[in-house]
Amino acid sequence: MDNAQTVFIVDDDEGVREGLSLLLDSIDQPRQVFASALDFLEAYDSTMGGCLVLDIRMPRMTGLDLQAKLNEQGATLPIIFITGHGDIPMAVEAMRRGALDFIRKPFREQDLLDRINEALDIDRGMRRQLLDRQRLAEKISSLSDRELDVFHRVANGDMNKVIAGELGISERTVEVHRSQVMKKLNVRTLAQLVRIKIESDMGHRSE
């Protein structure tokens, strides 16, 4: 997945596009350039990993507009905005909406590269996390309904006796389900189980 990371560049200025391309070429960083936000939207799908270097001020569809669209689509692509000197209010708005950073033109190439690397790291991390969550979800989905009930209640800190009473089953049966859950989720302690529960809840909320 690391290999597939691409830096997407969206800028309406040809000079800036060419300059950025050349810079990324010089460090052998794969990149794709787009002259407008619409062009990018057309070509992009959320499986593409990498980061977005986005000009904040463009005709037709601005960088902010594009950011909003990506947020709607749930895309996690980290965005580095390129701004001019009068664009601070727009940059602040972009940050509020979850942009990774903004960088003012003209800039030192190392600053940009640092941010790009950072963005790629984040993207990488997010994608790994996503993968972990997916695995976890798969594990959780392997539980039977009764096991799932028991899992939630155990993770919630309920006593076996209380669980047996609520579910209308014997305490012994609760014990069996509980060990089955621990086995399927590949945990040994209650603390580990609780953590999986929290992670899975976060995953739900963020998706």
């Binding site: 200025d13 000079g15 037709r60 003209p106």
Partner: protein, 680 residues
């Protein structure tokens, strides 16, 4: 042969029955040439020549003999008048025709040696003339020169004399007829003259002794009323003129000359008449002192005409003198003839200095020659080209300074002379006011440009930042490639560097041009180039607003003569106004504004800006080109009014209309430069 007209008996000669005369007349008729008779004797003694000239009249069969004109030439008195005295006193002269003596002073003295007797013969009009000249006394021959001189004079005289006689004959006949006719005319003229001759006493009241018939016409009184002293002449004279008359008469009498005086009299009807009185004091027949004799004529009509002429002249002269404009009349040779007070004030020359000097010295270069030629051309052709009728040129003051004038030249046909009247109006004040307006407009336009650029600062900074960013990226990427040893793309990168540096420079230059307070200067340019130069700035502004500018520039447009910066300012103004209008409706009708150049139906260049904003409301429409009438929160609201002033100064017009599909279109026109005017 009877005379054709009148009694042709010359004094002392009777040609009618004289055989030599008849012979000459027949010769003249038959040979159709001038014929002389042989010398004839006058009944009073003395000799003469008869001359006959045939007269032909043209008739249906060509020239036909109509008669003879005859005359007699008396030789002796003629010779005595015309021959030099010394010839006559020192020489004896004899002239004969066909052997017959015509004239001789005295017999040739025999005492003189025959060698000194000079004889000449020549033939004239078919007659043989002999001429003999001899000195009276031998001792006078000491001067041979004088003698031959006498001979020569005689010869010439005689030859021309006879020819002259013939000529004179013809002329005198014509003259006689003419004189008779003139005399007849004069008679009727005198009888019709409004006047009277008079004789009166020497002193006031000049009682009339005699008056002619004209008196009734002159003063309304009958002769006898005046002659009986019922009315005294002096009492008729206007009291104001009396002293003048008395003085004139007294002076003339004292100096024994004619008096000549004009004065007014009251006629019988009480009307005032002007008379001209010319007379002389003469001794009285009765010996009792002098009396006056003279002639009075009525000159009332003449005086009236003179007076009205004088008045008219005074009237027009007073107008010319009081005129604010300089009035100069120029004569045939281009010399100034009159120079009114306004002209003196304006040009600094006095009337005396200027009169008789060349008009063109008042006109400086480059018009001087044209106006110099104008006078000469007008003299030749009588035509005055229309362009001189009213024209703005310069005048040249005596001190060499020049001032703007409106010069109107018109023709003045003065009998046979062609003159020109020049009306010179000083338009310094107007020109200065116009200049002031122009200066103010330029200053205001400059302020507007500064304001506009101030408002566009973000866009411009952004526009400059783009190439700077590119430059920075290219150079840093280049450095990395260089370090990595990948030199193949470096050449490309260097090209890109310079390209983007120039791009940034161009924007700065454009901005600088717009901010400079320049002196208005017109140049002939391609309209599209003008628009293209302003595109970068407009686009910078559009970028900030998120608006795209579409250009639609027609090919092959005629050239325009404009102040480049000012027209670009107008284009920028219209684009920015349109974009602002679009922003006020949040670009809901689209985010593009279009700029179009084209040739309209009147062959003018039209530049239009079509926006998709809210359009112009009815309330705003009336005052949209008025200064400080902005509907926006920012800006002074002078953009459109300045634009209008600029376009009007270029001879174009600026206006707008609301589009069918929303938004407004603002447009302006510029007159195309006509071929041939391009250098002007």
């Amino acid at each position: 042969m009877l005379p054709l007209e009148g009694n042709e008996i010359a004094r002392g000669f009777d040609l009618r029955f004289n055989p030599p005369a008849l012979a000459a007349a027949i010769t003249a008729r038959e040979r159709n040439r001038v014929a002389f008779t042989t010398p004839l004797d006058s009944i009073h003694g003395g000799k003469g020549l008869g001359i006959y000239v045939p007269v032909n009249r043209s008739g249906p069969d060509g020239e036909q003999f109509a008669g003879l004109v005859g005359s007699v030439l008396l030789i002796e008195p003629l010779l005595q008048v015309i021959l030099p005295t010394e010839v006559m006193t020192e020489h004896s002269v004899a002239i004969s025709i066909n052997g017959k003596s015509l004239f001789s002073t005295d017999p040739i003295p025999t005492a003189v040696d025959q060698q000194w007797v000079q004889q000449r013969q020549f033939e004239l009009y078919g007659v043989n003339w002999q001429l003999q000249v001899a000195p009276r006394e031998e001792f006078l021959l000491g001067t041979y020169f004088r003698f031959s001189n006498a001979m020569l004079v005689l010869l010439i005289l005689l030859t021309s004399l006879t020819s002259l006689a013939v000529y004179y004959l013809l002329i005198s006949r014509a003259r006689t007829k003419q004189a008779l006719a003139t005399a007849r005319r004069l008679d009727s003229l005198f009888s019709n003259l409004p006047g009277m001759s008079y004789r009166c006493e020497e002193y006031y009241p000049w009682a009339m002794v005699f008056v002619s018939d004209g008196c009734q016409a002159l003063c309304g009184y009958e002769r006898r009323v005046l002659e009986n002293k019922q009315v005294l002449w002096g009492e008729l004279i206007h009291p104001a003129d009396l002293e003048t008359v008395q003085q004139a008469v007294a002076e003339a009498v004292a100096e024994r000359r004619h008096f000549d005086v004009e004065y007014r009299i009251y006629n019988r009807g009480g009307a005032l008449r002007w008379v001209w009185d010319r007379g002389l004091a003469i001794a009285s027949d009765s010996g009792g002192g002098a009396i006056l004799e003279g002639f009075l004529s009525d000159i009332t009509d003449r005086r009236r005409a003179e007076l009205s002429l004088i008045q008219e002249k005074a009237y027009s002269e007073s107008i010319v003198a009081a005129a604010i404009d300089a009035v100069i009349t120029v004569g045939a040779s281009g010399k100034v003839e009159t120079f009114n007070p306004a002209a003196q004030t304006k040009f600094g020359y006095t009337k005396q200095e200027m009169e008789g000097r060349d008009f063109s010295q008042l006109i400086p270069e480059p018009y001087k020659k044209e106006y110099g030629d104008l006078v000469a051309d007008y003299q030749q052709t009588g035509e005055l080209p229309a362009r001189f009728e009213r024209r703005e040129v310069s005048g040249k003051h005596r001190d060499g300074s020049e001032f703007p004038v409106q010069l109107s030249v018109s023709k003045m046909q003065h009998q046979t002379e062609r003159k020109l009247v020049c009306l010179v109006r000083d338009i310094s004040t107007r020109v200065a006011a116009e200049q002031e307006v122009r200066d103010l407009r330029e200053k205001l336009a400059h302020v507007d440009r500064l304001t506009m650029l101030g408002e566009m600062a973000t866009g411009i900074a952004h526009e400059i930042n783009q190439p700077l960013t590119a430059i920075s990226l290219f150079s840093q990427a280049g450095k990395r490639l260089l370090v990595a040893g990948k030199k193949d793309r470096l050449s490309d990168i260097l090209d890109k560097l310079s390209e983007h540096a120039l791009r940034a420079g161009a924007i700065v230059e454009r901005m600088q041009m717009m901010t400079e307070q320049h002196v208005s200067s017109f140049e002939t340019v391609v309209c599209n180039t003008l628009v293209e130069e302003v595109i970068a700035l407009a686009q910078a502004d559009g970028r900030i607003r998120g608006i795209v500018i579409d250009f639609e520039l027609a090919d092959g447009l005629p050239l325009v003569s404009v102040d480049r910066v000012q027209i670009q300012q107008v284009v920028l103004n219209l684009l920015r106004n349109g974009m602002q209008a679009m922003q006020t409706v949040n670009c809901e009708r689209g985010d593009s504004i279009s700029l179009q150049t084209r040739l309209n139906q009147r062959n003018e260049i039209e530049v239009s800006v079509r926006d998709s904003g809210g359009g112009v409301s009815k309330e705003a429409a009336g005052k949209i080109f008025t200064p400080f009438s902005t509907t926006r929160e920012s800006g002074m609201g002078i953009g459109l009014s300045i634009s209008r002033a600029i376009i009007l100064a270029h001879g174009g017009e600026i206006n707008f209309y609301n589009n069918d599909g929303g938004g407004a279109t603002f447009y302006f026109t510029l007159p195309a430069v006509v071929a041939g005017e391009q250098d002007g």
